[in-house]
Amino acid sequence: MNMIFLGFVVILYLSVIAFLGYRGYKRTKSTSDYLLAGRKIHPMIMAISYGATFISTSAIVGFGGAAAVFGMGVLWLTVLNIFVGIFIAFVFFGLRTRKMGHNLDAHTFPELLGRRFDSQFLQTAGGLLIFLAMPLYAAAIILGGAQFMSTTLAIPYEVSLVVFVGIVAMYVIMGGMRGVMYTDAFQGTVMFVSMTILLVTIYSSTGGIVAAHTKLTALAPQAVKIWGGAGHQGWTAMPVFWSPLWQQLVTTIVLGVGIGVLAQPQLVVRFMTVKSGHELNRAVLAGGVFIMMMTGVAFVVGALANVYFFEQTENIALLAAGKKTDAIIPLFIKDAMPWWFTSLFMITLLAAAMSTLSSQFHSMGSAFGRDFLEKGLKVKIKDSITVNKLAMIAAILFSTLLAFGLPLFYQEGTAIIATGTAIFFGLCASAFLPMFVGALYFKRMSATAALASFWAGIGVSLFALIFIHIKESKPLGLCNLLFGTDTLIPVLQNLDPLIMALPVSVITAVVVTFFSKPPSQRVTDQAFKNIKK
């Protein structure tokens, strides 16, 4: 790789980021600016920022690598990413969230829920859950970004970690939501251009769309030879129904991540940053195309990498990459793409990590500052923005320390990136999704029901993580320590915790709603003002 060219690209990229962060800083004057970008962000910026936050490095490299193993069935996740993560999220959640957020003058996701259910405790508890659980997800992103920077630029891991976190922290703390969204839009654009080039190259180098797929289909015996016992039937076929591979693909990868996106605090808050409903409708257009070009392309490239490597080395992608799933996409880029693209792709991955991390920092900071300290504990320091800035610094330090510590506990550092992401997505969906739907659509839903489903979602999720889902229960070791076995229910050991926790949380919300006092008319009238049935 040409280091001079890479250095030039990195400096150019960082200069643009610094400029946009500074612009965000100069334009931030109030709490509303700091937390919601003044509620006046352009729909295209909002859409790309939403997409770039949604898509992290692990979505491209981690899940792209997974596609090289599971095959094109992973594209069901892209269908959900677009249809649930963009279309349903914007049209059925976004429009009402924006309107209700406006009616209730809410600045964060927990604040929206707290005000809608007239429960200060809900806001405080929601804020605390985000502050405590999100660092795991943030640490996973930091770990991925820092490891990647460290290998690319040949610098020690600790140095790259500090530099990586430092740059993002700077523009998030100073520029608030404006800084985050302006830089996201730029980072998203870099990602879009890069993935477009990748898509065109992969199909042209493997003989065209149908020819490429046919070549991959012909390689099916290679996949069956290795994973046939677990249910693999080839890279262009779904695994055998209910086989271990099918369960992992459908429950963890497709449903876990696909549905979990609906109740992500860092994404929900973006609905409140645009000034009117039709801007959200416009954002659907850009958002759908953007996500297709991110995970869609990453999964197609991951799966087709098998064709490329088999033609070159007579080995499938996983074996060519030394059995490391996360190494497949980078190796393909290095071997199959022109030299200048390698540098562009590095920047793309850096952009993907930074755009996700910046929103995580912002969400954790506002959850801890605004929801927990300011509204829950009634802490008052100088002014609201200062509280949020200090809380953000605390959240950044917390997740950075976690990122320093994680590799010490868990040698397979890359596996924890995907695990950390999946745990956070599942936990958020189980704790927040039923009450979020209730908040937007069911006036009858009470604060008691919201809180009951919140605790039920967290409780079942944690129980499943510690005692059932073997992927986490085994490394955690608590189940083995107490009961002498890695899982209490072997038949459910491959089922994602979300699949167990979300139904329990939904049922709890419905049942408790019928047995509890309805919320006051005053609050629901205010929340649902100008919202059509």
Binding site: T28, K29, L75
Partner: protein, 60 residues
């Protein structure tokens, strides 16, 4: 179809493109909808800015 082995993957591939097309069509059709609430919200925002203490104190 499309060189794939089974319908499960074919549907996923086509579904990806169809979902994105739905988003594009929806965005174009609803480009200016809903629009009735914009003015009232701007007024509401101006009212908040006058009364909300948080907005006054937040200087950086």
């Amino acid at each position: 179809m499309l060189g794939f082995q089974d319908w499960g993957v074919t549907l996923a591939y086509v579904g990806t493109i169809v979902s994105a097309v739905i988003c594009v069509v929806y965005g174009i059709v609803n480009w200016n909808r809903p629009r009735e609430d914009e003015e009232s919200e701007i007024n509401e925002e101006l009212e908040w800015e006058k009364n909300d203490p948080e907005l006054k104190e937040g200087n950086i």
